[in-house]
């Protein structure tokens, strides 16, 4: 069934959008990532104008994250205190990110920057996670128990310490704030929630337990993406509500299913799957940059409209 999207001004198949929303929603619930880093490129691929895709995706992430966080709240796997600290950083970061984005847009080449950002960050994070979780799986098979990593690094020597009871941490607020800012900047530039950066940062940098990470990440993402949605809606008029509704109907259902799958799986398995997925997206984007495209020319209307 074809549906004409009023803001995007294109006609697309409604079931295709529902399906895409569902698949990305499952992943989002499983891994605590908003799924934007998968959905945004997919939307480009089916012909949604990039500006509309990025803005609408932010709105859709609000829905799937909200759905996911409710499931996590019930199981008490959300560190609200940590989430709030991350959120403060995130809002500052997304403000900065939008300024940076508009500056780069004026210079042109913003597409390239976004793609390079994806390749570099996805590649780095994916590789690190893959190696780490592979080691963890190997170790747990050998010794029969999962080793708890509680080593003290530089993160623990900073001032302004705060107790995060749910995460079982007593660390400085500076690292989470910085993580929040970094994620906010990247989220604004790349048009994603930033979960795929935040989740590894929380695990490896802050040393949070994996089970808490997912819920807390979702909690923070809701607010950052809601803020981004409002910014896009009021400045660029690029939020397509019809597109958003179709995506989020699939997305919220998927997120519920995904959360339940996630609970049944071991943390290491979860991480290695996420790593593989991140690397796959990275590989696809890198491939597109390296191989000669069939159509060298592209049409842009931005900067005029």
């Amino acid at each position: 069934m074809q549906i004409y999207l009023p803001i995007a001004e294109v006609s697309v198949n409604a079931f295709l959008l529902l399906g895409l929303g569902g698949i990305v929603g499952i992943l989002s619930g499983m891994f605590g990532v908003g799924g934007g880093f998968l959905m945004t490129p997919l939307l480009f691929f089916i012909g949604i104008p990039p500006a509309v895709a990025v803005a609408t995706e932010a709105n859709q992430i609000v829905a799937s994250s909200f759905s996911g966080v409710l499931a996590h709240l019930k199981r008490k796997t959300v560190d609200l205190k940590m989430g709030t600290v991350l959120l403060i950083g995130g809002l500052v970061g997304s403000g900065l990110g939008i300024v940076l984005f508009n500056y780069l847009k004026a210079l042109g080449q913003v597409d390239l920057l976004v793609k390079l950002c994806y390749v570099v960050f996805l590649g780095m994070i994916g590789t690190l996670m893959f190696i780490e979780s592979l080691n963890a799986i190997r170790k747990s098979k050998k010794s029969g128990h999962v080793s708890t990593r509680r080593k003290h690094n530089w993160v623990h020597n900073l001032p302004f310490k705060m107790k995060f009871r749910v995460s079982g941490l007593y660390i400085s607020v500076i690292p989470p704030l910085l993580v929040g800012v970094l994620v906010g900047v990247l989220a604004a530039i790349m048009g994603v929630g930033g979960g795929f950066i935040m989740v590894p940062a929380m695990i490896y940098l802050l040393g949070m337990p994996t089970k808490v990470v997912v819920g807390t990440s979702l909690f923070q993402i809701i607010f950052v993406t809601a803020f981004t949605t409002m910014l896009h809606a009021t400045t660029n008029y690029t939020v397509d509500i019809v597109l958003a509704v179709l995506l989020l109907v699939g997305g919220v259902i998927g997120a519920q299913i995904g959360t339940r799958i996630g609970v049944k799986m071991k943390a290491e398995q979860l991480r290695i799957l996420l790593a593989i997925m991140v690397l796959a997206v990275c590989g696809k984007l890198a491939f597109d940059l390296l191989v000669q495209p069939t159509e060298l020319y592209s049409i842009g209307t931005e900067g005029h409209a």
Binding site: Y4, N59, V62, L70, G108, I241, V242, V245, Y297, T301
Partner: protein, 249 residues
């Protein structure tokens, strides 16, 4: 000015008293939520006061053009091993949709000088003045190629049926990815490749109903629209969670 010139041409040629009378299958196109494209039937007749002149060859050219918009055409090149946009050409005005239908191959029904004057063929309908790159022609060609691939630019040679040198009809397919605006339909009557009469009419293409309402709201009450989008998102998220909790019990 064009009219005057056309009049002079008409006076100079033996077939002077020929005029187009046109009908349209629809006088407007409404874009609804389930819009899948549309077909416009253009039909008409040639009104004459004198008998049909038999020496010269008669041609009909029908064009339908969407609103003109400036576009940027970018070309990728290899830099440091990756493909990036390097050159770009600003096209001052390119129609968002353009279809040209004729009774016979273009060179038989239209002279190049007439094409230049009336801007009938696709390359002529695109205006590109400020070109920063030497081979800006390649950029215009690319624009035409990409839009033709999306069925936004159509060349339909021989798609106009002409009967008894008097009645003509053609159908233009409007694709689903249509932009709003006033679409202009031009019908040219040619004799030996010279335009002897031109008929112009506009077909408004507009979003209606829910589409119209949402589009207006997004632009006029952006803040409210943003809040509405967010509340729908939150309600959907909460709803799904509630439904699944109930299902598990």
């Amino acid at each position: 000015m064009i009219r005057l010139f056309a009049l002079l041409v008409m006076l100079g040629s033996p077939a002077n008293a020929e005029e187009i009378v046109l009908g349209l299958s629809r006088d407007q196109v409404a874009i609804t939520a389930t819009f899948e494209g549309s077909e416009i039937l253009l039909f008409g007749a040639i009104k004459r006061e004198a008998p049909i002149p038999d020496k010269s060859e008669l041609g009909i050219i029908v064009t339908v053009a969407g609103p003109d918009m400036p576009v940027t055409v970018r070309r990728k090149d290899r830099r440091f091993g990756i493909w990036v946009n390097t050159d770009e050409v600003e096209v001052d005005a390119a129609p968002s949709f353009y279809a040209v239908a004729t009774t016979a191959p273009m060179q038989d029904v239209l002279r190049d000088t007439e094409d230049l004057r009336y801007q009938i063929t696709i390359p002529r309908a695109i205006r590109s003045v400020g070109a920063q790159v030497g081979d800006s022609g390649a950029f215009t060609q690319a624009l035409i190629r990409i839009r033709a691939g999306e069925e936004l630019y159509q060349v339909l040679e021989g798609a106009v049926d002409l009967e008894e040198e008097t009645l003509f009809r053609t159908a233009i397919d409007l694709p689903a990815n249509l932009t709003e605006g006033e679409y202009e339909a031009h019908i040219f009557l040619t004799r030996n490749g010279r335009v002897v009469d031109e008929y112009v009419t506009t077909i408004p293409v507009q979003k209606v109903g829910l589409e119209r309402w949402l589009y207006n709201m997004a632009h006029d009450n952006a803040f409210l629209y943003g809040l509405m989008s967010l509340s729908i998102a939150i309600a959907a998220g909460w709803g799904a969670s509630a439904v699944f909790t109930m299902l598990r019990r």
